[in-house]
Each structure stands twice: as structure tokens, then as C-alpha cells.
Symmetry: C2
Subunit: 392 residues, 2 copies
Amino acid sequence: MSAAGDRQLTALSELAGLVAGGTTRRSQLATATGLSRAAVAQRVDLLITKGLLVETGTVATERGRPPLALQLASDAAVVCAVDLGATHSTVAVAELGGAVLSEATEELDIDEGPEAVLSGLHDQLGRLLADAGHPASHVRAIGIGVPGPVEASTGTVVRPPIMRGWDGYRVPGFFEGRYDAPVLVDNDVNMMALGEYAHRPAADHLLYVKVGTGIGCGIVSSGGRVHRGASGAAGDIGHIRVPGQDDVLCHCGNTGCVEAVASGAAIAAALRDAGLPVEHVADVVRLVAAGDPTARRHVRLAAQRIGDVLASLVSFWNPDTIVLGGSIASLHDDLLADIRAAVYRRALPLATRTVAIEATILGRRAGIEGARRRAVHHLLSPAGIAQFLSTP
Amino acid sequence: MSAAGDRQLTALSELAGLVAGGTTRRSQLATATGLSRAAVAQRVDLLITKGLLVETGTVATERGRPPLALQLASDAAVVCAVDLGATHSTVAVAELGGAVLSEATEELDIDEGPEAVLSGLHDQLGRLLADAGHPASHVRAIGIGVPGPVEASTGTVVRPPIMRGWDGYRVPGFFEGRYDAPVLVDNDVNMMALGEYAHRPAADHLLYVKVGTGIGCGIVSSGGRVHRGASGAAGDIGHIRVPGQDDVLCHCGNTGCVEAVASGAAIAAALRDAGLPVEHVADVVRLVAAGDPTARRHVRLAAQRIGDVLASLVSFWNPDTIVLGGSIASLHDDLLADIRAAVYRRALPLATRTVAIEATILGRRAGIEGARRRAVHHLLSPAGIAQFLSTP
């Protein structure tokens, strides 16, 4: 791509992004970009011809010709969003503007390996596209969150602790030939963080902490950039050491990891040891909701230990927002007070005076919402525009 | 500023940045930017007229007219870099291209307050400008690192633990009327991190860990962005809790902070308790250099505790480079092995397989080098170019 071509794509991307953000008139686009009205017209017409934008008349006024309004196309362009977990896949088909057309959750076993799992996912996606009334050719981008570390630039799964058989597997490769669309793959917790970030206009430095069977964290800052780190492992906080728990063995082979003492699985194990009828994390949630004092006690201890870890991260990274999600997040009444107390007790006042520690507002939909955002964001980027323009 | 003006400034900034990076021919600039040769010529001529660039003939060849080479001006434009510590100020005057023209370190007491300290600094700066043969009117940007938290957008010191009398003081205000130049203020450790980052082409996610009287950290990623966090407190790792040290009281009022058990001051106190003749951190360095086994033992224990904290940060942030600096960094032979061992023992393989843990390569000059880079970087940014063009 030439530098002049890059500039053209950047300008197209900027225009599409402004339309997505609610700038609907050509005159407003000219003002916002500094381009001439002729230059705006030339570019907008290209995006309309290619099917990324549509222009519609609004209700006529008494003052004459109704102004035309631009918006992202919804007839022949959709994105797919996938939240792949250890035991489920949630898939959504959505318009570029955000409206979800169809969505469903199905059970699966991630350890069946990539070919089997992705084949099932492909079938699920086909059914949802049919429900939404769109052929596969309308799919313009696919965002997928997976429960393991990912090299985001290639969509390759890298040394996942769960996901048997996926190590080194390049997920977008499966979709080549099936869809003529870019596939954006990321760790599921990163997707959840992105989803929450997009729904919190006041957040600029956000940590999304997922407490379920394990414990993980997504890091978003600076206008929506996911921090993935040098090898895509950023946010892997489950094996940070908690003071005073050196006698507890973790599945990683170390002792005292926060995941070994404060995850849903750890709480469930502690309650089993205490003689309570607990098999899964859902049983913990049920017991606490029923007011069982032993269960509440163990959840509060877990919250204090999670808070100890978060206090260190607040001192280091100075977030303005920490979002608590995952399957035990529904217990936020019992969790948040102790997490907040631990953070306020240990981190410095300058770092804690602006931090909000809150429960997820998207709940189980954080992952799918992040994957959808990621797909649309890519589609409106210069690289996504280039791919869009090159499809027939 | 209009959008069209913004675009012009962005183009000028891009051209100046390319010249600074070694693209010296007009034809190369046209290729690199995608602009026409006429558009490049118009912009380059403006930057020459205003004194930011100069164009010089190179040695004539037998093949005729020598090609002209562009470079950043060095006749009427310099930047000043300041590294302000608790007890010293290092000031440098440098050409935009990097050559340091004059530099000196003087003693001071930061607790004398902003007016007294900055007056002394102003005198020092005047002497160094005279040494370099430049009047104050040639100063085009000033970068200043200070030993406390800073709201970088305004240059205001915010709740510093040392720096008595500086809380809420806006440092650039002092220089208004004295220099017609933007003043970029940041925490000294952030400046040091920026300096090291600029000298490590392979680094993309860097932590600079300063171990001196206290312990602090600078965070740089994504092409040279300093992560300051929501309130400028990011990197304040001195009060992260170290496991197993809950009986040690820290000056912050908590117990078990890494600064209370592993800083230069903490090692010095431990050696005094052991009956050794130690007053300052320099005495610790001297004893270790002389091979004193008790001193070496305490330095190694400190390294293990620092390593414990860094292991958590490696898991969370997944850096590719950790640089050890500060006044006890000269003991890196004794420190690095234990820090590395602790990080490798506790952090996950995916995060540790790419991380390099190394001693500073800039040493005491890291802060001044970062402040110089920050000043030049601002000068070549669109905002800096705008200020440059508006000066007579």
C-alpha cells in the first residue's frame, strides 16, 4: 500500500468512525475533518457505493427539502461476535450500528480441540445468520474471545492452561474459505474488558477482573487500547502470590497463588472441606444467596485476598475503574466491600482517591459485547476499510 | 485551531520527525509521506524559514551538484533538560539533534520549596546557556523531571511524599516570562524510563525500577508512551506489600512495604542494626564493593524481595524489558541474579520467556536523557510545531 493510499484509507476510516459516532450530515463531516465538501462527497459516495454507509431522508420539515442522514449500512453487512468458554459458546449476529439480530448460547467442551469446537461454532453461526436473514457473504468481520492466551496479531492460541489441543492453533485459519471476512481473536477476558470499557464513558484506565473457576484480568487504557504485553500474557494475575498463604498448593506447582485461595474453585473446595454440599461454583453462589454463614465467610475471605492483589495493581497501574465480573460477581454485595477495604487499606491515597471498584454492568454479555465492538472497530479501521473495499 | 490547521501541523510534525530520524532528502520525504514534491517543498521551506530545519550541501562529488541534506537546526534552537532530585539538580543544554553542549550537577535541598529551588535552577540554567553560547531566546523547550508525582498535563506537583512546600505548585508557571518555551514536567522516574526506552530499540514494554533511598517505577510502552495512570500515581510500587514482612513498619504507616524492607535506606538501617558503620546508601554500596559479607547478604535479601514484587508485575503487565536503576543499581552483580531468580520462580513461563532483566545502561544520566528526549519530542509534536511557528 502506498503512502497516498494509506492517507486515503485513514481519511475513509475517520469518516466512517464519525458516522458511527453519530455525525450524520455531510456538512458536519466537512467541519469535523477539515476536508472540503467536495472531498467529503467523493469519499462518502465511495463508502456508499461499496455498501458501508447508507444515506436516508429524514422526516420532511415545513422548511423544504429534508436533510439527508448518513448511517452505517444494515442491509448487506453484519458482524459476528463469539464468546467461547470452557463449556459454552455464545454467538451473536449484529448490525454494524450495534443492534443484535440473533444470539444464542450452546454447550460445548473446549477440550475436544479446535477442529471439533470450531466446526460446532460454524454450525451455530450458520443457524444464527439464517435467523437474522443474512447469508454468509454479508459477514464483514468476526470477533472471537477464547479462554486462553492469544497472540492477537495472528489469532494464534499460545500455551493455554486449559484448551487441550489448541496450543499453536491459528483460529482465523479455520474460517478462511468459509467467510470472506477478517477474524479478530483475543483472550476472552480482554474482550470482556473491552465490552465494559465501551459502556463506561468515564473510564480511561480500566481493569476487568474475572473471578470464576479461575482468576484473570483484562487491561484497557488510552481510548480503548487493550494492553496485551510482550507475549500476550498481560492480565494473567491468577498466580500472583497472596501474603500468608504459602501452605496452599496451586495447580501451577507454586504455593499461595491468589487463584488457589480465592477463585470460585478454591471457595468451592473450602466449602466441601467444611462439609457443605458443593460441587461447582454455581453451588457456592446458591449457598451465599441463601445466606449460609460458612459460605459467606469464605467468600469474604476470598474478597480480602483478591483485594490484597488488587491493592498492588492499583499502586502500580493507577486505574480509575476496576470492574468485577465472572461467575461469582453476582455475589458483589458480599465481595465488593471487602475488596474495597483491602485496596483502601494498602494502596496509597493518591492512587485510590479516584478509583471506582464496581460490579460488571454487562454481566455474562461482557464477552460477546467486547467481541462485537472489536469486530466493528476493526471494520472501521484503515485496514478493515481496505479489506471492505477490496471485496466485490 | 481549525481541522485544516491541525492537518497542516500534523504534516509538519511528521516531516520534522522524519528528518530527526535521519531522512535527510526532500525526495525521500516525498516517498515516505506520500505528499507531492511540491507539497514537501512548501512545508520544508516553512520549517527552514522558521528556523526548525536547516539544509546543507554535502561534499561535492565528481558527478556534479552535491545533494542537499536536511537536519534539525542547531544555530538558534536548543532544548534544556533538568533532572531535579532531593539533593541535586543536573541541567543540560542540548541541540535538537541530541548533542549535549553543556551540563552540570549542583547540590540543593528540595525542601527549600519551589521558589528557592527553581530560582537556583534558573541561575544554573543561565550559566549553562552562557557556556553553550546561546541566549535564553534560543531555548525552544524545557524538560524537567522532579522527585514526586506530577499531573503531567499541567506540570503540577501533586501530594509529593518528599518535596516539602511543593504540593499543588505548577512548575511551568515559574518559567513563564523567563523563557518563551513550553515546559514539560514529569516524575523523575518516568523521565528515566523514557531515557532508557529511547536507548533500547528492542524494548516495547519497559519497566524502569529505581532502587535508591526509596523504590519507584516508570512504565513505558507502545512506541514510547509513559503510562501515568488516572492520577499520575502509576509506578508507585514502593508500598506494595512483600509476603512475610508484616512485622516491619513503613514510614507510610503500613507494614511490610517493599520500600521498608528492600530500599537503600532499609538496607542501610539493617546494616546499622548489625553494627556496621553505615549512614547513607553510598556506604552500603562501598561495603558491598569491598566484599563485606553482611552487607552482601542484606543486599541479596533485598533483591529477593524486590524480585517477589516484580514477579507480580510481570504476571500482570508482561513487560519485555525491566531495567534496574538508582543508587544501588551499581551493585547489579549482586542484585540481578536474585531478582531474576525470584521472577522466574513466581511468574508464569509465558510471561517470563521474553523478559530481559538488566542493569541501566544510562546510569545517572537516565533522568537527564529522558528529560531531553521529552523536550525534543514535544517540540516536534503538532502542538510543539504550532508554538514554534508562532514565535517571532
